[in-house]
């Protein structure tokens, strides 16, 4: 059974179409990553799944025939813009959110999660005394108590230091192992690549990519060269068959034009400089993202319009 089934959903705000005819199937027990530029419709889609917004057209089904309005009890939602009651103690706050969703006491679960994320000693402290990282951990715990069937996380790693981010990442993976379906949005393409089973890219309200990382990369083929050569970016300029250069500092990433021969580019490069490494790969998610939504794509869109 699919955890989420979105069919032809459209949501508009005045004259702005935030989500345009979106269809999506999220398999149960998977981690689905939503990527896309700011304002592309990720948060609106999440809010519709959680029943904060109602679709203008189309429908959303959860775990078979469940409707969002009757399913909020088993959804955990971490919004992008977070806020907690500052004057409550951590313990009281988490019990409040747990009871709000479940209707029963959640003391034991609160204690477990506080212990797990290293906050047990702060249980009786007021939220206003916590650091930003601690507050975000508390917000995460408030989202997963009681354990939901569907967890929706809007930018869960935003603003977290590496240690806190790792703790949350580990918790997400653990929840997935226990069968929880997770939808998360992120601007961190490396994280999406490493964490998500499926990736959805929304751009201007429309779905532009949907599938596993491999299936998405397969659409583009092996058209990317990663190279390290003496002279850096100067060495890779004007190579035959290369349409775009991305300078990463020590490494340069070259995108080949369709049908170009990478061997020809290698020969030309060796003739100009000493080459330390040269590899032909599929494009990264970041690269794919930029091809769709980057400045060059924007210019191309404007030109074609």
């Amino acid at each position: 059974m699919d955890a989420v089934q979105i069919s032809h959903v459209t949501k508009t705000f005045g004259s702005v179409t935030a989500v345009d005819g979106l269809s999506l199937t999220v398999p149960q027990g998977s981690i689905y990553g939503f990527i896309g530029p700011n304002g592309s419709g990720k948060t609106t889609t999440m809010r519709m799944i959680v029943n904060i917004f109602y679709p203008d057209r189309g429908e959303i089904r959860l775990f078979g025939d469940g409707r969002p309005e009757t399913s909020t009890d088993f959804i955990g939602y971490l919004p992008e813009e977070r806020g907690l009651y500052q004057r409550m103690t951590v313990q009281a706050l988490l019990e409040f959110y747990g009871e709000l969703r479940s209707g029963h006491g959640v003391k034991a679960e609160v204690a477990n999660w506080l212990e797990r994320l290293g906050l047990a000693s702060r249980a009786s402290d007021k939220v206003e005394t916590l650091s930003k990282g601690m507050t975000q951990k508390v917000q995460f715990i408030a989202t997963v108590i009681p354990e939901p069937k569907l967890l929706i996380l809007d930018e869960p790693f935003s603003g977290l230091d590496p240690v806190s981010a790792e703790a949350i990442r580990s918790a997400i993976l653990d929840l997935r192992r226990r069968g929880v379906t997770i939808i998360l949005s992120t601007h961190d393409m490396h994280l999406a690549e490493s964490l998500c089973d499926y990736i959805l890219m929304i751009f201007r309200g429309r779905k532009v990519l949907d599938g596993t990382l491999t299936s998405i990369q397969d659409q583009y083929g092996e058209d990317t060269i990663r190279v390290t050569a003496d002279g850096g970016v100067a060495a890779v300029e004007s190579l035959p068959g290369v349409e775009q250069i991305r300078d990463l500092g020590q490494v340069q990433e070259l995108r080949l034009t369709r049908g170009a021969d990478p061997q020809e580019a290698l020969r030309a490069l060796v003739a100009k400089a000493r080459v330390t490494s040269f590899s032909l790969t599929k494009p990264s998610l970041y690269d794919i993202f930029m091809r769709i939504a980057g400045p060059a794509a924007e210019e191309a869109n404007h030109a074609s319009a």
Binding site: V50, I52, T72, Y85, F96, Y97, G103
Partner: protein, 456 residues
């Protein structure tokens, strides 16, 4: 609607409010200020200013001043001292008769000089008795004798002019009106050749005693005698209405701030992930109702104890208490739903401050009308206003609590109207709340909010 969510939100909001120092402070301090003010007023009423009050009289008739001084002396003798303790309880009025000026120009100077003496506190007022003051007004005479545009007297020769700079409620003028009328009447009688000393009864004022109605005891059948009416018969019901105003304000005003705070601190979206907007709003309203009921219990218990201690328990029938709570709950639900919608429309606490006066209008307007209703509790205006749903809780309660009472159908019709209005307010507010709560930026315009209420 899932009840457990509503109750969980209500419980949190309730505890968050009643545990604050501000709530406890308000609960204790408000009645102290209120009660302290009343005690202070009654203390000051019991300690009147007993300094002599000097008043000058210019008498153009030549005969009224003497009679007036004599009438004042009689009133002084009657009211100056407490009959039991013989202690002075009123200020003595002392008159200084001044001969009128010879011509109109020096007359103005004379009035100016006397005005100066009032300003310098050597006099409290001065009277000018017109030369035609003895002539009673005839039918058709201008009763007002003032120019509407300039507010100057149009016929200074008739009547008595009373010049003073006394501020606020001029008790002195009320006190003097009796002796002045008596004095003029005595002068008129003398003019007609009637010997006042032998016919004093002709000019004697008649005392009017205010009494309650007689009633039959339902159990024994005995007739209860009429008793002297007390000012408390009005004050206790008025105080009850003021307490209702106070509790409703204390219960509903924080709602606006709370919703705005939840919105500006980004708490709302997390809550909406677990509860629907209607559940969230209902929970918050219920929390505020709890706060109001808590504070009302405190006030009601304290109020009942106070009226018992003062021995005036009979002035406020206990049957008013169920009505008090019916009106309280209706008003708090109505205002809290309104506050939730307003709070959802606010982007910042600044916006909430600007909207606060709009929120309190349904309480402040009837509060401003309390005196009007007290004057004529069963007049057309009081009846009509107490049947206007947002005003019903406060004005109908006051009318019911007054000894005159109201026709039995009116409270029921008023309450039904108020309940219906509260239901519509909750319905409309929940629609506005749902749309506005996640919006950022400037508050919506009124037309936009109305459209949300109507179309959702």
């Amino acid at each position: 609607m899932r009840v457990h969510k509503v109750l969980t939100i209500a419980k949190r909001d309730y505890i968050a409010t009643v545990r604050t120092k501000a709530f406890l402070f308000g609960l204790v301090v408000a009645p102290i200020l209120f009660g302290g003010g009343s005690i202070g007023m009654s203390f000051l009423n019991g300690k009147p200013d007993l300094a002599d009050r000097h008043i000058a009289i210019i008498d153009h008739t030549g005969v009224v001043a003497g009679a007036l001084v004599s009438a004042v002396r009689e009133k002084n003798e009657r009211e100056l001292f407490d009959k039991k303790t013989h202690r002075q309880i009123e200020a003595r009025y002392v008159f200084e008769v001044i001969a009128p000026a010879a011509d109109p120009a020096s007359s103005k100077d004379q009035l100016l000089a006397l005005s100066g003496r009032v300003r310098s506190k050597r006099l409290v007022a001065f009277l000018e008795i017109g030369k035609d003051a003895l002539r009673p007004p005839k039918p058709g005479d201008d009763a007002d004798d003032f120019d509407l545009g300039t507010s100057k007297r149009t016929n200074p020769d008739t009547g008595v002019a009373y010049y003073t700079n006394a501020g606020g409620i001029d008790e002195m003028r009320r006190w003097l009106s009796g002796p002045i009328s008596d004095g003029v009447r005595l002068a008129r009688l003398t003019q007609f050749g009637i010997d006042i000393e032998r016919n004093r009864d002709l000019a004697a004022s008649v005392r009017i005693d205010g009494l309650s109605l007689l009633e039959r005891d339902e159990k024994t059948g005995a007739v209860r005698e009429a008793r002297k009416r007390s000012e408390l018969e009005v004050l206790v019901p008025a105080f009850t209405a003021v307490v209702l105003v106070m509790i409703v304000m204390v219960g509903s005003a924080p709602m606006l701030q709370s919703v705005t705070q939840d919105k500006s601190q980004r708490i709302v979206e997390t809550l909406l992930g677990a509860a629907s907007p209607f559940e969230l709003m209902t929970g918050k309203v219920l929390g505020s109702v709890g706060v109001s009921v808590t504070s009302s219990l405190f006030y009601v218990i304290a109020g009942v104890a106070a009226v018992n201690a003062l021995g005036v328990a009979g002035l406020l029938p206990l049957t008013i208490i169920p009505w008090f709570y019916a009106y309280l709950l209706t008003d708090v639900v109505m205002l809290c739903a309104f506050a939730a919608a307003l709070g959802a429309c606010c982007g910042t606490p600044q916006d909430a401050q600007n909207f606060a006066i709009v929120l309190l209008m349904p309480v402040l307007l009837p509060a401003f009308m309390l005196v009007t209703v007290l004057r004529q509790p069963n007049g057309a205006l009081a009846t009509a206003m107490s049947l206007v749903p947002p005003f019903t809780p406060i004005l109908m309660l006051l009318r019911q609590a007054l000894p005159s009472g109201v026709p039995a159908w009116q409270p029921w019709v008023g309450l039904a109207g108020a309940l219906a209005f509260a239901a519509v307010t909750v319905w409309a507010a929940s629609r506005i709340f749902r749309v506005a709560i996640l919006m950022q930026g400037k508050p919506p315009k009124l037309a936009e909010a109305v459209r949300w209420a109507l179309k959702g």
